[in-house]
């Protein structure tokens, strides 16, 4: 299932803001699920520069917050980034305004998982005999509903 080319996430170069992102229901939903006020982010970039998985993502963790602050949840639902997050909390402990980015990534995943979406098909997993159980358990907990 591998070696995919990392393509730029944004296909359209113009995004029209239709209403105040603070009033957008899906942004509010993400805020509620994650318990984080995403509008605090001032785009310093520390999360991205410390993220161990950032070089494999299609949009930086800090950019995810900019999409949210503009009310654009749709683009994020097509992003690979939340599924590349390893929940290592390096971003969380370094964020100057104390945001738990891992929780926000989980919220974005949950928006799809709660609709019964399977990011990973457990039957297609290889190496079942050598993978440590915690790898399988954690993977399925993050990537299946």
């Amino acid at each position: 299932m591998f070696e995919y080319k990392i393509l730029r996430l944004v296909k359209e170069m113009k995004y029209t803001i239709k209403k105040d992102p603070h009033q957008d229901e899906r942004v509010q939903e993400i805020i509620e699920i994650s318990g984080q006020n995403i509008f605090l982010c001032y785009q310093c970039g520390r999360c991205s520069s410390g993220c161990p998985m950032a070089e494999f993502m299609d949009v930086l963790p800090s950019q995810v917050f900019m999409f949210l602050q503009e009310g654009d949840v749709d683009t994020l639902l097509n992003a690979k980034t939340p599924w590349i997050c390893a929940a290592c909390f390096t971003c969380t402990v370094r964020c100057p305004v104390g945001l738990d980015l891992a929780a926000v990534m989980e919220a974005i995943r949950e928006l799809q998982l709660r609709k019964n979406y399977d990011y990973i098909d457990p039957y297609k997993v290889e190496e079942r005999n050598i993978l440590p159980p915690i790898a399988l358990v954690s993977n399925f907990r993050k990537f299946t509903p």
């Binding site: 994650s34 402990v93 997993v125 954690s138």
Partner: protein, 296 residues
């Protein structure tokens, strides 16, 4: 001499792929005068902590484990619950702190699990390193029979021992608890700058090339700073750092493999417990037999 009983939470992985971690932990604890008794009826901790704030379902399993520990602690007479797998430690400790801070969550869970007694927050979840520090590193020095002199070890913490802030066992950017222990064991600890960086975690299931890139980076830098082995605590880190070296070697010509060891195995070696029933060296992909020859 009778051994003091301490509640031990093994976690699912220790029973199979990480027998080397379990047996070396139990053996070293025994050497220090403790019998680590498995928590009766324990269930899987869940490996990762559920981060969604609007749902308590991910915390159930861990609180149930804590309730069982609470019951058992009355029998054993000690409220410490020791885990050596970093993920188990992180989950249990986070669950405990979460329900202690959010009492309404605790209330909901207690009501949901009404067939069990209420969790009163009495369990002290500890990682084995914290337990050893409580025992006293200088007392551990007395048990060292074969100091690991000349073995250059890169201490590797991974993520979950140090993050998030509330569960950290030491300073999260510059910890030294593992280094202190390794020095007591006589090893030469190298200054490993990536000691608190993530190994790639669960992506090893479906994106192993990404994990192999992380492995490449972590092992190469360890080689840059002149380490012989990397010492870790978490079975997932162990698997990623050890097994994924196979893919790393394919993707990067000239990559030199390095053996990975659990810190408990190093402890066992230093204590002179070098039998294979303790170390299970066959479970390692990159064999440490050559590097560890002087102590085997």
């Amino acid at each position: 001499m009778s051994l003091k009983k301490i509640m031990f939470y093994p976690g699912c992985t220790l029973k199979g792929v990480a027998k080397n971690l379990e047996d070396s932990t139990l053996a070293t604890a025994r050497e220090l005068g403790y019998e680590f008794v498995e928590l009766p009826d324990w269930t899987c901790c869940g490996a990762v902590y559920g981060l969604a704030q609007d749902s308590v379902k991910f915390t159930i399993a861990n609180v149930r484990n804590l309730i069982k520990a609470q019951k058992y602690s009355e029998e054993i007479g000690d409220n410490r619950l020791v885990a050596v797998c970093s993920m188990c430690y992180n989950n249990l400790r986070r669950a405990h702190l979460d329900v202690m801070k959010n009492r309404d969550k605790l209330h909901t869970l207690n009501i949901f699990m009404d067939e069990e007694p209420d969790y009163r927050g009495e369990i002290n979840v500890q990682h084995y390193l914290q337990f050893l520090k409580g025992y006293g590193f200088d007392r551990i020095a007395e048990k060292v029979k074969k100091p690991l002199k000349g073995l250059k070890v890169a201490p590797y913490y991974g993520c979950l021992l140090l993050r998030p802030e509330e569960v950290a066992i030491d300073d999260r950017e510059d910890p030294h608890i593992l280094e202190d222990l390794l020095e007591i064991l006589g090893a030469e600890v190298v200054d490993y700058p990536l000691k608190n960086e993530c190994c790639g975690s669960y992506h090893t299931v479906d994106k192993r090339e990404f994990v192999a890139e992380r492995t490449y980076k972590l092992v190469s830098i360890a080689r840059e700073v002149d380490a012989d082995v990397i010492s870790t605590s978490c079975p997932l880190c162990f698997f990623n750092l050890d097994r994924r070296q196979e893919i790393a070697a394919v993707r990067h010509k000239g990559f030199k493999k390095m053996p990975i060891l659990y810190f408990t195995q190093l402890m066992a070696l230093a204590f002179g417990l070098n039998g294979n029933e303790v170390l299970h060296l066959e479970q390692h992909y990159v064999s440490p037999k050559e590097v560890l020859a002087p102590w085997l």
